[in-house]
């Protein structure tokens, strides 16, 4: 053994090392050859799919649009049967003002409207009237001291002096990102936060200079809230703040909650807040739950009410119909493939063209021609009535139902069954059946015991092709499926192009993909994927 490992190549290296190096070089060359295709597939196929599927759990929009609200809601609101405390409404006022300026509130509304009806119009309406939130406070403060109307007062109160200098110098030009003064966030936390989002948003969105614009009314709301609890007022504008505080102490101004309820009563509805709280996390299982007829709530997972359950039924139907279509393809395709494989070459080539012909016709044309054939006033019913098999007033319904989908899809997918079967059957030597016959088997036994098992790899390949194509089909079921013959893919298509609930579509697709992979795995265990042959 020791001798063997010491075999050296001509240049004195151990053979093993030389061999490994040669192999590695070969592998590298092979990798380089497929690299363009691999990169192409990863970039244009895998990455977009992964990105799309990722949407099924992604839910940042709520916490990004209403950051302060979400935090306060989590901290301050526990009793779910009452509306949340004032702190939540105040946080909402600050977040909403910013969201409206960025036009993000309606986008969030579309998202939340998927979970509960009413968000779309509530947010749109509130967005139009957002200036009313904090308006009483603003008017009151300006009444006390007109300086509160002046942007400069706010700058001297809140802004970092060096930033303020830049802002004044660059009037009309690009203003640098707003910076708060030191310690102001400790003394006036809400005002600082609300003003900061005001200043940053108008610089970014409207390219405006905070030194020239009076803040949103929600900032006045924040100031009045801070003053109500502030202990020591020192630093810039202390005198003004004190005057404002003393005036506010005796004033009776509506709270943020009351002001929101003034815009729309729905803001006082605990159910609305429950939805926001349930979907406030960065990631959610909500879409997956919806995709299997469940729903997420604060109390945990619930089943959808009976009237809204539809997806499980459609998954079941999709699987069932795909199996029926696959079986019909075997039953119809096997004899044809057998015939093709055993006819003289010239004839079989001609027939093969007939099998391939449907591939060269548009899918829509093929589907529509099934309509012409199968409808009640169609060719088949006309013939049946003419020969007297069916009464004129009892014509068969063969389209716009499951039957129609199965017929049309079996026809469309048949070549995918015939071609692998044909190429496998071509490789089975005819002498084997003849040998079986000469050994005493009758023609059935010779076929069933000898020929059929050898054609199994073709059936396997055909089944996988047809089943996987069938399970994701949607054009044909949409056109001829009617009410009972539609697939889950029709709902996915609906959510992609109509409702634009891409996350739910992604969840449904992921489940469908998982289903296909599970079935593939099962198939591999039972039949063995190595037994599948395409020729």
């Amino acid at each position: 053994m020791a001798d063997q490992s010491a075999i050296l190549t001509a240049d004195g290296q151990p053979l093993k090392v030389g061999l490994r190096r040669a192999l590695r070089a070969q592998k590298l060359r092979a990798m380089l050859l497929i690299a363009p295709l691999l990169i192409f597939i990863v970039l244009t196929f895998l990455a977009p799919i992964a990105d799309m599927l990722f949407r099924s759990v992604e839910n940042r929009i709520v916490s990004e649009t209403l950051p302060r609200t979400v935090v306060t809601l989590e901290r301050d609101w526990e009793t779910l049967d009452t509306s949340p405390p004032e702190t939540v409404y105040a946080a909402l006022a600050f977040d909403f003002s910013e969201a409206v300026e960025r036009r993000a509130h309606t986008r969030l509304a579309t998202r939340l409207n998927y979970e509960a009806t009413g968000f779309a119009s509530l947010f749109r309406k509130s967005g139009r009237e957002i200036d009313k939130i904090g308006e009483p406070q603003a008017e009151f403060l300006i009444n006390v001291d007109a300086a509160w109307k002046d942007p400069a007062t706010w700058i001297s109160l809140l802004a970092d002096p060096s930033w303020a200098q830049q802002a004044y110098d660059r009037a009309g030009e690009d203003v640098p990102a707003f910076r708060l003064a030191d310690r102001v966030a400790e003394n006036l936390p809400e005002t600082a936060s609300a003003y900061e989002s005001f200043a940053r948003t108008i610089t970014n969105v409207d390219a405006a200079n905070p030194a020239e614009v009076a803040p949103w009314s929600s900032v006045y709301l924040a100031l009045s809230r801070d003053l109500a609890i502030a202990e020591s007022l020192s630093g810039p504008e202390a005198a003004r703040l004190e005057a404002a505080r003393d005036a506010l102490a005796t004033a009776d101004l509506p709270s943020a909650a009351e002001q929101f309820a003034e815009i729309d009563d729905d803001w006082a509805d605990p159910e609305l807040w429950e939805v926001i709280k349930t979907f406030s996390s960065h990631y959610t299982a909500g879409y997956y739950l919806n995709a299997v007829d469940l729903k997420l709530s604060l109390g945990g997972i619930e089943t959808q009410p009976a009237g809204k359950r539809v997806y499980l039924l459609l998954f079941q139907r999709t699987a069932f119909m795909s199996i029926v279509i696959t079986i019909s393809c075997i039953l119809l395709g096997y004899p044809i493939a057998y015939l093709l494989a055993h006819l003289p070459l010239r004839l079989s080539n001609l027939l093969l063209i007939l099998v391939l012909l449907p591939f060269w016709t548009s899918l829509l044309v093929r589907t529509s021609s099934w309509k012409v054939l199968l409808q009640q006033e169609g060719v088949i019913n006309d013939i049946l009535v003419w020969i007297g098999l069916v009464a004129d007033d009892a014509r068969l319904t063969m389209i716009n139902n499951q039957f129609g989908t199965i017929v049309a899809m079996t026809h469309i997918l048949l070549p995918f069954m015939i071609l692998p079967l044909f190429s496998v059957m071509k490789t089975i030597p005819p002498s084997i059946t003849r040998a079986a016959r000469s050994l005493g088997a009758n023609s059935w036994t010779a076929f069933w015991r000898v020929y059929f098992p050898q054609s199994m790899p073709g059936i396997g390949a055909g089944c996988i092709l047809v089943f996987i194509l069938a399970i994701g089909y949607y054009i044909t079921p949409e056109l001829v499926g009617g009410r009972t013959g539609t697939f889950i893919s029709n709902r996915i298509a609906y959510h992609i192009s109509q409702s634009l609930n891409w996350s739910l579509a992604a969840a449904l697709s992921t489940i469908l993909l998982a289903l296909v992979l599970a079935l593939y795995n099962l198939y591999d265990r039972i039949v063995g994927i190595d037994k599948v042959k395409l020729g």
Partner: protein, 372 residues
């Protein structure tokens, strides 16, 4: 990626700006318009594009027929900051949502749309048709019922409107309805005796919904549920159904162009609108061109002209008196308009804003009902 994309955009904007400098100032010379294909798009080409090109011979038009998926594609384009469309033909429901999502720009209607010839500002001339800040209305169409005249039982008056679709005893035969809740739910309630003004209040309640589904249940098995506008005309022409809902322009072509034994039952026709939206994020020159064309295409004469080619009513009040005869058939178009007083005795203008809220929920209920 974003960096490369912005370089490409800058370069293409630069190239575009080069090619336009010799035309009219800073407007782009190509215009990509999204519409719905078919006779409708042809009417837009004839009524808007060709006269516009006689005035601006250097402008090239690219028509994209993806109207049905426009909203989804627009969102995908805007996510990668590469909007290739300049003007999109959309229904109000989509315009509202596109506006909500920031996919379309908000319009100052009086500034961007032409006033009527007598000087009436656009907002007054269009009136209620301006249903969203992002929406510039074009036409009024309706979803209504066509029926086979040769299948009306003897001694019975022909159907007059939507409610006859639920009357299987008087009018036996199959029906066709669209595979979505919008319009069907309203008809079901109206025809089960709910007053016009209560329909949407009822649809917000469990009982109201149950009532609508119960009404639809009576014809569920006799109905073919369509999803493409061309389905009902084909089903009517083949005699597959006795009556079915579709867009009135489609019925016009079945009746007047294909001379099929079909008539329209106008009662409770469901009005809908169609109009333009301008995608958000267009470069200056393309935006200017899109606005310029939109202003031209929605003026009083252009909207009246479109009615020469298709039986959809102009959305402007001032266009109505100018509606004349069909361009090739030579027949008077006014009686075929959904807005014609004789056809518009009982009409339903569906509530877009309500549907923007309730669409997701009701659609799920409707699909679940349909699948069972």
């Amino acid at each position: 990626m974003r960096c490369i994309a912005s370089i490409i955009i800058t370069i293409s904007a630069f190239v575009l700006s080069l090619s336009t400098t010799h035309a009219d100032g800073h407007m782009s010379n190509t215009l990509t318009v999204v519409s719905w294909g078919g006779a409708y798009q042809k009417s837009q080409v004839n009524a808007y594009q060709l006269p516009y090109q006689t005035l601006n011979p250097s402008v090239e038009f690219v028509w994209d027929e993806s109207g049905a998926e426009a909203f989804a594609k627009l969102r995908a384009m805007s996510e990668v900051n590469n909007v290739t469309w300049d003007l999109v033909d959309a229904v109000p429901a989509e315009a509202i949502r596109a506006c909500d999502e920031g996919l379309a720009i908000e319009l100052d209607h009086d500034a961007v749309l032409a006033p009527a010839p007598d000087g009436t500002p656009a907002t007054e001339d269009f009136g209620d048709m301006i249903v969203s800040d992002c929406f510039a209305p074009q036409i009024v169409y309706s979803t209504t019922f066509g029926y086979r005249t040769d299948r009306v039982p003897e001694g019975v008056d022909p159907p007059s409107g939507a409610c006859d679709v639920f009357d299987l005893e008087t009018y036996p035969g199959k029906r066709a309805l669209e595979k979505r809740p919008i319009a069907n739910m309203e008809w079901a309630l109206l025809c089960s005796g709910v007053a016009y003004e209560d329909v949407y209040d009822q649809l917000e309640t469990e009982e109201g919904r149950a009532r609508a589904f119960a009404k639809l249940d009576t014809i569920k098995d006799q109905t073919i549920w369509w999803s493409a506008g061309a389905d009902t005309p084909q089903l009517l022409a083949d005699g597959e159904i006795f009556m079915g809902s579709t867009y009135n322009g489609r019925l016009f072509s079945v009746i007047e162009e294909q001379k099929q034994p079909v008539e329209i039952a106008w009662d409770w026709q469901m009005f809908d609108l169609d109009g333009w939206i301008i995608p958000a994020g267009l470069p200056e020159d393309r935006l200017a061109r899109a606005k310029d064309f939109m202003r031209f295409a929605t003026d009083t004469q252009r909207l009246a002209d479109q009615a020469k080619y298709i039986s959809y009513g102009p959305a402007r009040k001032s266009s109505a008196p100018l509606v004349s005869t069909h361009a090739t058939l030579g027949i008077e178009m006014a009686p075929h308009m959904p807005t014609n007083p004789e056809n518009a005795e009982n009409t339903f203008l569906y509530n877009y804003v309500w549907w923007a809220d309730y669409r997701d929920e009701l659609d799920q209920l409707f699909q679940a009902w349909l699948a069972q």
